[in-house]
Amino acid sequence: MGSSISKKIKSVSGSGTMTHNVEGNLPLLKGSPGQDSDNFTSKNKLLALVVDDNRVNRRILGMFLSKLNVDSLEAENGQQAVDIFFGGASFDIVFMDREMPVMDGLKIIGVSANNEKEEIAEFMASGINEFHTKPLGSVKLATIIWGIDSSSF
């Protein structure tokens, strides 16, 4: 069961990199603000999409993001998120609750031509839901889509 925004998927569009934080603490990366997050603001003005059916959670996250120099738009469910996403806005980050009415959080499929075990493990650990090697032919794609369609995700 997904627990509000705390289980979040951060997807950086364009580069295709993602990080996933399951419970609480992110590893302290070199150069990251860490405990000094009070004084941190993003150098670039970023735009985030916050997807959560709980308006209290959306507002709080939006306020925290604003403090970090990140603008945000809100969506109440996955369907609204998809509509906004394809409405032309270009997001840098998406924070998405997993469990929502209408449409739950999105499933992230990682694809790579590289199928080395260590690299796959690292990719999976970054928060993707599934990994598939390229090329994605029609059979493989149909299997992926069937899996999403028939799962209770």
Partner: protein, 173 residues
């Protein structure tokens, strides 16, 4: 005359400022005591501290509105949970979904005890334990109004401090 009037006005301003100053420090001390007590008794946690810091960045109006939305939504959820618990058969899925919602928003607000009760409520709904759910619901009906009363009292203090021109202290857990 002009000079006397000016003197009187200055004295009023002076005494007004002093009274205001004393009142502010008392209000601030009272606020710190109240928040510290709520931290130590487990009603609030570190998330509340984070929200306090947002208030410090000029977000007091935002916080007041947020609290109002939180109470409004939570009361609706609790009311719906009560109705669902009276149904035959009990709709554990609906109650569980509401408990999950309340767990998320109360955790975001730093309302630790309410969030913990909701967490237990979610587990009991999964187990379809009606007796357990009823006990949890009773606990929620006790915890939530208590929290609401305390937070509303804190907000009144915040508004008085701000109206007196003081800064709202940020209290660490």
């Amino acid at each position: 005359m002009k000079s006397g009037l000016s003197k009187t006005t200055n004295l009023k301003e002076k005494f007004g400022f002093m009274e205001g100053g004393m009142e502010i420090s008392q209000l601030q001390r009272h606020f710190v005591e109240q928040v510290s007590s709520m931290f130590s008794k487990g009603y609030l946690d570190g998330q509340f501290f984070q929200l306090q810091k947002l208030q410090g960045d000029g977000g007091i109006d935002f916080y007041v509105e947020l609290v109002s939305v939180f109470f409004q939504d939570s009361e609706k959820l609790i009311n719906e949970m009560g109705i669902a618990l009276d149904k035959q058969p009990v709709d554990f899925k609906e109650i569980g979904a509401n408990a999950h919602q309340l767990k998320g928003s109360s955790a975001s607000m730093g309302a630790k005890r309410v969030s913990k009760v909701c967490e237990a409520f979610c587990s009991l709904c999964k187990e379809m334990d009606k007796e357990g759910c009823l006990r949890c619901f009773d606990q929620l009906k006790h915890e939530f109004p208590f929290l609401k009363g305390k937070v509303e009292a804190l907000l009144r203090l915040v508004q008085k401090i701000v109206a007196s021109g003081g800064a709202v202290p940020v209290v660490e857990p």
